[in-house]
């Protein structure tokens, strides 16, 4: 028991995490591609037409998983940022910075696919209802985090400033999730949640869950690959890192 604990703490050091991340990320990338292929195949060819929305609903297979990831990655990012702030661990801050671009990407995809879906179904690209507005604020939080970190030269200070912003912004995540419950919104309620049976046909649900898994794997792979670059950038002055770069 003691031994396995020691092993885990070992990877809190950038020098030990660097090769581990290098070994892991191709596997996550491959799994992501496989899940995405399966999910898209179910989404396009297996899942039935929707009774209300016809074929147009199929954008759900990208829209919903992307929206889930946009919120989840923010929570994970804030967790790492908070950990770094509390314990002064170097790797936590790097993980937070590595996750932010992927989170921003998924937020953008969620907003973009939502607009493409909203125009034919609702009749509008964009409305200022609580769900859409709070998701837009999430995009600004990600962009603010990235900009703030980029504006401060000293990486440790950049981590601390970013961490405060990330932790403050975490308040927005439950607001996004529950906005459709708390207020009258144009956006419909959740089809899939932990508390009730999913309001979708089974094959549709499977397609969506497979796409969500694919996005998970993609996010882990890109975060690991990106954190390797950040580690090299910040630890480049050390002997081991110079050795890696050769």
């Amino acid at each position: 028991m003691k031994n396995s604990q020691m092993n885990w703490y070992k990877y809190a050091s950038p020098q030990n995490f660097y090769p581990l991340a290098g070994r892991l990320w191709p596997w996550f990338a491959a799994a992501g591609a496989a899940f995405a292929l399966a999910g898209l195949w179910i989404g396009f060819f297996v899942a039935p037409t929707d009774a209300q929305q016809g074929e147009g609903y199929r954008i759900i297979f990208v829209h919903v998983p992307a929206s889930w990831m946009s919120m989840f990655i923010y929570v994970v990012m804030a967790f790492w940022a908070g950990l770094g702030l509390a314990f002064n661990t170097r790797l936590s801050g790097m993980m937070a910075s590595a996750l932010a671009p992927t989170g921003a990407l998924f937020t953008f995809i969620a907003l973009w696919t939502g607009a493409l879906w909203g125009k034919p179904m609702w009749g509008a690209w964009w409305v200022w209802d609580a769900r859409l507005t709070s998701e837009l604020i999430l995009l600004f939080l990600y962009l603010g985090f990235l900009a703030l970190q980029a504006a401060i030269d000293d990486p440790r200070r950049a981590d601390r400033a970013g961490a405060v912003l990330a932790l403050v912004g975490v308040v927005n995540v439950p607001i996004i999730y529950f906005s459709v419950k708390w207020w009258n919104t144009l956006h419909q309620g959740a089809s899939v949640s932990l508390t009730k049976a999913p309001a979708m046909a089974h094959t549709m649900l499977w397609g969506m869950l497979l796409m969500a898994l694919a996005f998970w794997m993609y996010s882990i792979a890109t975060a690991l690959a990106r954190v390797r670059c950040i580690i090299l950038e910040r630890e480049g002055h050390n002997e081991w890192a110079k050795h890696e770069l050769e």
């Binding site: 009774a51 179904m121 207020w183």
Partner: protein, 145 residues
């Protein structure tokens, strides 16, 4: 107290007070954050008289009448109704018995004159055959009542 514990306490305390602040702000915004008013709220006079606002509900079955490109229909929340007129192209998902959100103003006759009509769909996704089965089951349940 180690400096580390102090930092953790600060972070946790900060998050808790932030959460409380956000809850208070949101609950005081409660009435202003609504995207639309229901016909019941309008009947109770809660909707603004002068300003444009949105009304949301279901399109009452059998109420849609077309007069050229102007559509007249009734929006209901099953308790109260409000007649709506709209000139323009209705969205594809606009159907009797389905959700709708219309933006506009109250006319002099108490009717609602819409400048924009949006369709609001629900969170249920099912193939047409399943939908048909559900509708049939509901109709049977209605006739049994």
């Amino acid at each position: 107290m180690k400096p580390r514990h102090k930092r953790i306490a600060l972070i946790v305390g900060g998050l808790v007070s932030l959460g409380i602040a956000a809850t208070l702000v949101l609950s005081s915004f409660q009435s202003n954050l609504v995207f639309f008013f229901t016909p019941t709220q309008i009947a109770a006079g809660e909707a603004p008289k002068e300003r444009p606002f949105r009304v949301g509900g279901l399109v009452k079955s059998g109420s849609l009448q077309r007069d050229g490109i102007t559509a007249h229909f009734v929006v209901t929340d099953t308790a109260k109704d409000i007649p709506v007129s709209y000139t323009g192209i209705l969205p594809d998902l606009f159907r009797e018995g389905k959700g709708v959100v219309a933006q506009g103003k109250l006319g002099a006759d108490g009717g609602f004159v819409a400048s924009e009509v949006l369709a609001k769909h629900d969170e249920n996704y099912m193939p047409p055959e399943a939908k048909h089965a559900v509708d049939q089951a509901q109709n049977t349940a209605k006739t049994l009542k």
